[in-house]
């Protein structure tokens, strides 16, 4: 949980997120919203793989569709992880214990981030309002931050996905028209990751400043939270009790992923509570209490 007394709680605000796994249907609307909000390149087209250079136009060296996907180079800053439980040993006819669980995984904006101290050039650092910031211009691409990250939510530009002159360019006409002008397009050789839609945070702060007031609770939200049809994702300032996220983060179902690593994450997951003996409706039993 966010601890204002902890050393990482330096500033007035602590941007945070809750993800209610009981509400998540795994529809991936958040992933799509993230792609379009943050100009994330798609990497699966045949021309985006490697080939033997401009002198070898007909080369089929790893220009199969999805060559980069097979190598795990998808850039989705947010991904839906699926984990299956139960039904073991009987994979064709699942019994009642079989279940699929979804975990939307994104940068956890750790208060004690393992990625930050390892970057030799300060390309990733901690902002005073709790964001784990990635400075694309400063990044030299050592990829050490990704090795240190236990959540594996950092993505590298293996090719010039954002550079129009390159064959790997991810936004050829007309896709370039959907690029978000508030967000940069990254060049090759740099690391990128979820920013907590920092452009939206700054926009809200600037608007509030122009209007001579504080940012109001739940005044704005991030792209994934905005797109979520079941409202599983809530974003806001966990240090200010007026925000919804601050209340949700106190929920009894709340937990942090890999809490034992002392990363003090800003993303709080609300556990999906299962009732023993299958569906509540089917069994007609009263809802079970806290099972955590």
């Amino acid at each position: 949980m966010y601890d204002p007394k902890h050393w990482s709680g330096m500033a007035k605000r602590r941007w945070a997120m809750t993800v209610d796994l009981a509400r998540c249907t795994g529809c991936s609307a958040c992933v799509t919203a993230c792609y379009s909000e943050n100009n994330i390149p798609t990497v699966g087209a045949p021309h985006q793989g490697r080939a033997l250079g401009p002198g070898f136009p007909d080369s089929h060296w790893d220009t199969r569709p999805g060559a980069n996907i097979v190598k795990g180079r998808e850039m989705s800053w947010m991904r839906i992880e699926r984990y299956f439980e139960g039904g073991e040993g009987n994979e064709t006819t699942f019994d009642g214990s079989f279940e699929t669980r979804f975990t939307p995984m994104l940068c956890q904006h750790c208060g004690n981030a393992p990625c930050e101290p390892v970057c030799p050039v300060y390309a990733t650092y901690h902002s005073p309002d709790g964001l784990n910031v990635q400075v694309y211009n400063r990044c030299v691409g050592t990829r050490y931050c990704s090795n240190a990250c236990p959540y594996k939510v950092r993505y590298f530009n293996w090719f010039g996905f954002g550079e129009p002159a390159r064959r790997q360019y991810a936004f050829p006409e007309p896709l370039n028209w959907q690029l978000n002008p508030d967000v940069t397009v990254r060049g090759k050789g740099v690391m990128e990751k979820c920013t907590f839609c920092v452009q939206r945070i700054r926009e809200a702060e600037h608007r509030a400043k122009l209007e001579g007031r504080e940012v109001r609770a739940d005044e704005f939200t991030v792209a994934c939270a905005q797109a979520c049809p079941s409202r599983a994702i809530t974003f806001g300032d966990a240090a200010d009790p007026a925000w919804t996220v601050a209340k949700l983060a106190q929920d009894r179902r709340a937990y942090h992923v890999f809490e034992e690593l002392n990363t003090f994450t800003a993303v709080v997951y609300l556990k999906k509570v299962n009732h023993p003996g299958g569906s509540v409706i089917a069994s007609g039993a009263a809802p079970a209490g806290e099972t955590r």
């Binding site: 795990g72 030799p120 050039v121 691409g141 090795n147 236990p150 090719f159 790997q168 740099v190 690593l261």
Partner: protein, 484 residues
């Protein structure tokens, strides 16, 4: 019994060789030393052929690197989250190679281990070129290699400094320090030998160059006094680097949070592995050199035998470290760590782990046999397996950890691409290009130090100065050798 006292070169051997005192019975006078060692500097067709191959491999690697810089690192085999691959493995491999050179030239010098005398020059040159090779790989590895200088704390008007908490910045300091000290140490040790070459040189241009390089060495008592002081100082200065440089390299892994990396055993484990791999490389280099240059009576079987014992010892230290890693993983009770180690040896990466274990721990046990320690064919073959095994040790450290971390969703596989392999091969071309150029320009065995262990001819018996006449006379031939 008598037949066992001498080997086929007429060099006496004992069942247990004291490494402190290794005589060279087939080397009788200073003129012979000058003649035979300086004689190795004449180029041969075989040398030109080897150099040609090395340069070709280097050019291939350089071309492929250019290609990779132009298109992007996606041409290498990286499969996230395996974000480090062949380049970091090869970086650690080459840094490790360097360590045996400094161990042999500096630490064994301080410990007065006699067997170092005829192999240290070769090992020290290997160190310098290995560090030069290693230093390229972090640059090859990064996404924007043209910005590599951002890792160096240089003054700039934006007042941005590197992140001093990052082990990669420590690496920059460690590698640059190591390169500076080891090349200085190599060069200082060469000065009397360069003077010998100067005195033998007939070409006036080359003679002038050698005169400058030898700082006008005049072979005076005062020069020798300063030289031996400086050499001792540099040896003492290099000694901690043998331990510190690879400790810092190990921090690249130990400071990160990945299972299998985040352990305190890494610094000693890496240092032992580095020395072990370096001795393997010394054998790979010195055995062909002593054969093709006919230096068997300098690099005697006793020398090889003593070095092989060091190899055996470090092999067992490395083996002990492997066992400790497994034991600690089990004892920690950390499920992620245990799962990772199981996966390393019996799961996805079993083949890499067993190449490592067989080459580094099992095959070197053959060196318990003195017969095999003195069999150069066996040692040469074994040294190739050690090189292979130590490359795979770094593979086993880097890749399986990243491919099997905390996040089951992000478990993956990794395979190098042709670009990775080309740059690995190109690095060998680059290394051997420098080494081959070195052995035809400068003596591969330290002429002046060999003269110290050859009994001097007592031409001038000075009754009053008997106590220190011997060392002075011994060095005295360093530049007078030109008379022959």
């Amino acid at each position: 019994m008598a037949a066992r006292d001498y080997d086929k070169d007429g060099v006496p051997y004992r069942t247990n060789i004291a490494s402190a005192d290794i005589p060279l019975p087939a080397v009788t006078d200073y003129g012979q030393v000058d003649r035979e060692i300086a004689g190795t500097l004449t180029p041969s067709f075989g040398w030109f052929g080897a150099l040609g191959v090395a340069v070709l491999l280097f050019l291939w690697g350089a071309g492929v690197w250019t290609y990779q810089i132009y298109w992007g690192l996606g041409n290498a085999g990286y499969a996230p989250p395996v974000m480090w691959g062949v380049y970091i493995i090869t970086f650690v491999f080459w840094v490790g190679i360097g360590h045996a050179g400094t161990l042999i030239s500096a630490i064994l010098y301080l410990f007065r281990a006699g067997f170092r005398t005829t192999i240290y020059r070769c090992a020290e040159a290997m160190t310098v070129f290995a560090v030069m090779t290693a230093g390229l790989f972090p640059i090859i590895h990064i996404g924007r290699p043209w910005k590599f200088f951002w890792l160096i704390p240089y003054p700039n008007w934006r007042l941005i400094w590197p992140q001093f908490k990052s082990p990669l910045v420590w690496d920059v300091f460690a590698i640059l320090t190591y390169l500076t000290i080891s090349s200085t140490f190599l060069y200082v040790g060469l000065i009397p030998d360069i003077a010998t070459l100067r005195d033998r040189e007939r070409n006036p241009v080359r003679k002038q160059i050698l005169a400058v390089l030898s700082f006008g060495w005049r072979n005076s008592d005062r020069e020798w006094r300063n030289f031996t002081r400086a050499y001792l100082f540099l040896a003492a200065f290099s000694t901690p680097l043998v331990l510190s440089v690879h400790s810092v390299v190990s921090f690249d892994f130990a400071m990160a949070l990945a299972p299998g990396w985040h352990t305190t055993i890494f610094p000693p484990y890496f240092v032992a592995g580095a020395i072990f791999s370096g001795i393997g490389m010394v054998f790979t280099i010195i055995i062909p050199i002593r054969r093709f240059f006919h230096l068997q009576h300098y690099v005697t079987l006793n020398v090889i035998d003593a070095a092989a014992k060091l190899c055996l010892f470090t092999s067992m230290v490395v083996g002990c470290a492997y066992i400790m890693e497994f034991w600690v993983a089990w004892y920690s009770g950390n499920a992620v760590e245990q799962d990772y180690f199981w996966n390393r040896v019996f799961g996805q990466w079993w083949w890499a782990a067993w190449i490592m274990l067989i080459c580094n721990c099992i095959l070197p046990l053959s060196l318990f046999s003195q017969k095999l320690r003195r069999n150069t064919i066996w040692l040469f073959g074994l040294s190739l397996f050690i090189n292979l095994g130590m490359w795979f040790e770094r593979f086993v450290i880097v890749v399986p950890s990243l491919s099997h971390e905390y996040e089951p969703w992000q478990w993956t596989h990794y395979a190098p691409s042709w670009v990775d392999i080309s740059l690995l091969v190109g690095s060998f071309g680059w290394f051997f290009m420098w080494f081959l150029l070195f052995i035809k320009q400068l003596p591969v065995i330290a002429i002046s130090e060999v003269k110290e262990i050859v009994p001097p001819k007592m031409l001038h018996a000075h009754g009053g100065h008997g106590a220190h006449a011997v060392p002075v006379t011994a060095h005295g031939a360093a530049s007078q050798g030109g008379a022959h």
